[in-house]
């Protein structure tokens, strides 16, 4: 049975979304995909690196939450302890769907909001309701719909952004070596970052083009975000009581 359904005020009139943040609701992730338009918000709290999609081998920018699988150092006691959650993760349990609509007799493909009814956040007991008493969208749903729109455009821009980075050879692989207060060492493989030497050697034309597309800012945001590794380290030491 399909569990992804078009959000509507008949099937979902009593649906509520649990907004608590914990492993039970799928928040125990150590990174999530991000995109240039939200880099400004993301770099305030998280390191931004690049990794490869395991199904396609394509690069993705990601915001890092921990040092190993299932480790999210930002969640604790049902809360996410910094004010911004990357949209790719914040969207759950919603998805973007496509639907063909007739508009003035012309078939048009439109983006619509889908919900994963099997997601642990979805219930009828507690949390934010999707619809108001008489079927109008609740503020929570409005907010989600806007978020999904931003996310959609962000994902499209990501393809262009990554394409440029690859073309200009601006990505390089690196290994993150982490040493905790108890001197234990951890190594993270499979991440990539901006190659600053290559960045410095870019031609004027390339720099201008990156700037025009808003990607130059994103590149520097990503570089600046690396200092957040220290923040992650503090959180990790604290979590282990070190």
């Amino acid at each position: 049975m399909a569990t992804q359904k078009l959000v509507n005020n008949i099937d979902h009139k009593d649906t509520k979304i649990i907004t608590e943040r914990s492993a039970t609701y799928g928040d125990d992730i150590w990174f999530t995909q991000t995109f240039p338009a939200e880099f400004r918000s993301v770099q305030a709290y998280y390191p931004i690196f690049f990794t490869k999609d395991e199904n396609t081998g394509k690069f993705l920018p990601v915001a890092l939450f921990g040092f190993e699988q299932n480790e999210n150092l930002f969640i604790n006691d049902g809360l996410w302890h910094v004010p911004y959650i990357p949209l790719m993760h914040a969207r759950a349990p919603f998805l973007i769907g496509k639907q063909t609509l007739l508009e003035d007799g012309v078939e048009k493909l439109q983006r619509v909001l889908f919900i994963d009814e099997n997601h642990p956040r979805v219930n009828t007991e507690q949390g934010a309701p999707l619809f108001l008493e008489f079927g109008a969208n609740a503020p929570y749903l409005e907010n989600m719909a806007n978020m999904m729109e931003t996310l959609h455009h962000g994902m499209q821009d990501n393809d262009v952004f990554i394409g440029r980075l690859v073309e200009l050879e601006l990505l390089e692989s690196f290994t993150l070596d982490v040493e905790l207060n108890d001197k234990s060492k951890h190594q993270m493989l499979g991440f990539y970052t901006i190659n600053e030497d290559k960045l410095a050697e870019l031609s004027d034309d390339d720099v201008a083009q990156l700037h025009k597309d808003g990607h130059l800012q994103a590149i520097y945001m990503a570089i600046a975000s690396q200092s957040n590794v220290t923040r992650l380290l503090l959180l990790k030491n604290a979590a282990l009581g070190l």
Binding site: G57, L171, E172
Partner: protein, 524 residues
């Protein structure tokens, strides 16, 4: 005699010619130097297109000449090759349960930590539980499971499990030609050679062509295949036949379709022994290349073709197996006495040819082209020295290829035809192999018994084939160094873990190839 060597003329437009042109052009940096390379390709001769299997060295070669792996895989119908699987070569079902199936794999990956420790003696006590290849590397198990050697997230030319390729030779030479002409500044002339002219020192001064007149050069590379236009016809360098040692001299090749375009693709070249030769089976993306190479002294072409079609019937059914067209290639197994004479050297089949049992043809072309590129003679007097060394090295390679291929035969216990009896007759075995076999009764093959400095086949290859064939020595003294024993135990354990981990993440060849065509590997 201080003439500088600047103009290189390559005669022959097959894989050998274009591969040599690409490697030389890349190394000599043609675009920024005053070297010139002209490749003269005959319009009348169709390249023979042998060699559908490569060694892992091909990855480095392609990278060097600036071809992207994604482009190579999409244009050459290429797939990943992790080694060779030999089926029915032992010829008897031994009492050892490990050998219940008459099949073993010679993988490309060396045994764990091979530089520092010889695992063979330590494996011996487990030989009833696990075959040698499975014990010392993960590759044979991965191959049997039909796994790809890497993930879509692995960069171009990098690997999780070492690999070479299976490829369509015709398409490959097309890609090389395009690279040579478009990117590497190689001149291309399509014309027939009608005469070869010498200068007063008996060096080749030029070749005369039908339409383009004389093409002069300082160095000539003979890539004319069996025709052997320069080294053979012009210089009359002796050909040394090896048919008395390796009997196979005829091949029947068939291109076989898959039953379904999404059928699995084997990770190894399959080599199945027959009564008078063996059948190769190479899985490309869109088809299989299958062929029977045999000794015409021992059987007829009709009989051999019948065996080949019978082999195909098992996978394709009788009707399809009977319909497919075949092509017969006759060859004289062996090589020239010299490969570089005066200002002319032969690369590819003009230099020699032997059955493709270990896919050495393309590998030897790569070796030769690399040698020439790296040791490129500055002038006519240094050419003499380099030619001498080239001849020494290449002779060594041929000696080793013949010895190593023969090893596959001499350890067989097949008794189903005169062919296999003749193959173990002492007079058919190269002297160096007789010596080695005697040594190996008392010691395990390892680095020390390799005479050549840069052997084509490392001692590991000898181990894989010998133990794969069930070779057992009776009189090896057991050494009991505790530390080394512990190290070996640890390596065996690690190999089991590594094998399980890799098998869990790697997908099938087909699945990975479909992804490569859709997304491509990243460069980093």
């Amino acid at each position: 005699m201080k003439t500088e060597i600047k103009r290189i003329v390559i005669v022959g437009g097959g894989t050998a010619g274009w591969l040599t042109a690409c490697v030389l052009a890349a190394e000599l940096d043609l675009i920024n130097s005053d070297f010139s390379i002209t490749l003269v390709e005959s319009s009348d001769i169709n390249p023979i297109g042998v060699g559908e299997g490569t060694w892992p060295t091909m990855r480095g070669t392609l990278k060097k000449i600036g071809i992207s792996e994604n482009e190579f895989i999409s244009t050459c119908d290429a797939s990943f090759k992790q080694g060779s699987q030999f089926i029915n070569w032992q010829g008897q079902t031994a009492t050892n349960p490990v050998y219940a199936q008459d099949s073993y794999i010679h993988p490309f990956t060396l045994p764990q930590d091979f530089q520092n420790i010889n695992l063979a003696p330590h494996w011996q006590e487990y030989s009833e539980q696990v075959n040698f290849a499975d014990a010392v590397s993960s590759q044979s198990v991965l191959s049997k499971l039909g796994k790809a050697p890497k993930l879509i997230t692995t960069p171009e030319y990098s690997f999780i499990s070492n690999y070479g390729y299976h490829l369509d030779a015709g398409k490959f030479s097309g890609l090389l030609k395009k690279q040579a002409k478009d990117k590497l500044n190689v001149n291309h002339i399509i014309d027939n050679v009608i005469a070869v002219n010498n200068d007063k020192n008996a060096d080749i001064s030029d070749i005369e062509t039908e339409k383009n007149g004389k093409i002069a050069g300082d160095l000539f590379v003979d890539c004319t295949g069996f025709a052997s236009l320069l080294i053979g016809k012009h210089y009359n360098i002796d050909f040394i036949s090896k048919q008395h040692q390796l009997f196979n001299n005829t091949a029947i090749a068939i291109q076989a379709p898959y039953n379904d375009p999404n059928d699995d693709i084997a990770s190894c070249t399959l080599s199945t022994a027959q009564s008078n030769g063996w059948i190769w089976d190479i899985g490309l993306q869109s088809r299989r290349g299958v062929g029977h190479v045999f000794s015409s002294e021992h059987t007829s072409t009709e009989k051999a073709e019948q065996q080949l079609r019978q082999y195909l019937t098992a996978t394709l059914g009788l009707k399809k197996a009977e319909e497919l067209t075949s092509r017969t290639i006759k060859f004289n197994p062996g090589h020239r006495k010299k490969f570089w004479h005066n200002n002319c050297l032969a690369i590819g089949m003009s230099a020699g040819f032997i059955e493709p049992l270990e896919a050495s043809a393309l590998a030897l072309i790569e070796q030769s082209a690399m040698f020439l590129a790296e040791q490129f003679p500055k002038n006519r007097s240094t050419m003499k020295i380099i030619a001498k060394r080239y001849n020494q090295t290449t002779s060594q390679h041929w000696t080793q290829i013949i010895e190593f291929l023969k090893l596959h035969y001499v350890l067989s216990k097949r008794t189903d035809s005169q062919y296999w009896f003749d193959n173990v007759a002492t007079e058919s075995i190269p002297e160096s192999l007789i010596e080695n076999l005697e040594l190996w009764q008392h010691q395990y093959p390892y680095h020390a018994d390799q005479v050549a400095r840069n052997p084509l086949f490392p001692a590991a290859s000898y181990q894989y084939v010998m133990f794969g064939m069930g070779f057992k020595s009776s009189s090896i003294t057991k050494r009991n160094n505790k530390i080394i024993q512990q190290k070996a135990q640890q390596l065996f354990k690690e190999n089991i873990q590594r094998t399980q981990q890799q098998a869990a993440v790697l997908t099938s060849n087909r699945e990975l190839l479909n992804k490569v065509k859709k997304f491509g590997f990243a460069k980093i």
